[in-house]
């Protein structure tokens, strides 16, 4: 047989093998990425909440004296 045909077959086999490995890796990559993205996204949301919790009046509640809507002063009727 001529050399170039044998080479073609060998190359094609290599290519096939390579592609199968790559397909497997790609699959792993995407799965890990999705898990990471959602975990990271969730962690970031949690971290933002934590950082700002203390300054969230509706969350921690503010004393009557500090919240203008909670004042005890009677309404002035004009």
């Amino acid at each position: 047989m001529n050399m170039s045909t044998t080479n073609n077959i060998a190359q094609a086999r290599k290519l096939v093998e390579q592609l199968r490995i790559e397909a497997g890796i790609e699959r792993i990559k995407v799965i890990i990425l999705v898990i990471c993205f959602v975990s990271k996204a969730a962690a970031d949301l949690m971290s933002y909440c934590e950082q700002h919790a203390r300054s969230d009046p509706l969350l921690v509640g503010v004393p009557t004296s500090e919240n203008p809507f909670k004042d005890k002063k009677p309404c002035i009727i004009l």
Binding site: L19, A23, R27, F37, L45, M46, Y48, Q51, A53, P57
Partner: protein, 387 residues
Amino acid sequence: PTDQTSIALFLCHPLHWPSLPAQRKYMRSPPIPEMATQEVQLNETLAHLKTESETLKTKLEEERAKLHDVELHQVAEKVEALGQFVMKTRRTLKGHGNKVLCMDWCKDKRRIVSSSQDGKVIVWDAFTTNKEHAVTMPCTWVMACAYAPSGCAVACGGLDNKCSVYPLSLDKNENLAAKKKSVAMHTNYLSACSFTNSDMQILTSSGDGTCALWDVESGQLLQSFHGHAADVLCLDLAPSETGNTFVSGGCDKKANVWDMRSGQCIQSFETHESDINSVRYYPSGDAFASGSDDATCRLYDLRADREVAIYSKESIIFGVSSVDFSLSGRLLFGGYNDYTINVWDVLKGTRVSILFGHENRVSTLRVSPDGTAFCTGSWDHTLRIWA
């Protein structure tokens, strides 16, 4: 498999990869094949590989969709639970003659603008409950209103298909209607409007299926946003630190994120089962919440590019008209068509409180700029301030 690592390992195992079709006999031990046949076989193998990669892609999408356990509330299990909340009506604003449809806070944290089905737009001092200004629009159903960042003007519109800007005069006796400026023109009702960072530009959404950005001074259309397949019902601008984007929700059940400069839709989410009545950005700008006629609120993370939480209960069967976050983003307030307000723990996905008071649908809800209170407007003609 339950934890994340074991899922990844499970899916990586060669046993779970789709298999190539059996190789042809002569690929393994060619007797004396002709060159042409060999090339055909090579091409066939490559074609099979292409099919395999397509199959893998589809499988990946399926596996991705099955990753239910990677949701916000799972990650948030270690977060401390919230205690009891005591929130009451602190003020009731009476004065509208018909259903309140929309409201907005002024940046001064005390003034509020509200609009109603009877065509009236009222500016209130929420501390004292006094009415400071009132305008009668030429149309009924003023579905949208917004306060300008400077506090010197308000925008409103509805069945007139327009968005008009009224400068607020210090002289309470002045006729506001005389200084009215028509800015936006749509071909169907105006559903929502918002000033951008300044008094100079307004963003609108409409029953005509589009959103648009307008120059207030000239009334010129600066950019239009096409992509919704039905009425657009709501919009919200990203917090200024995160750049020039906004999110819109529509009757096509889609929430779209747009780039304001190019007019392009950069992300789209379609998991709701009915009209999306309200959208609101999470304070960091990395996510947004939505409220829908399907009785659920949902949280979408922009970087994970998917829905990460759903806020619902079997006992809640009426639509959500309006949503907003508390300052830290930990609480999500939803106004419902069953007259109640449900308060959700954003991270854990549980309801922390239910508030009663309105005598008809809650149609609009906004947290004040400093987070000390939130205001609701209702079909019962009143607005309430809660803290």
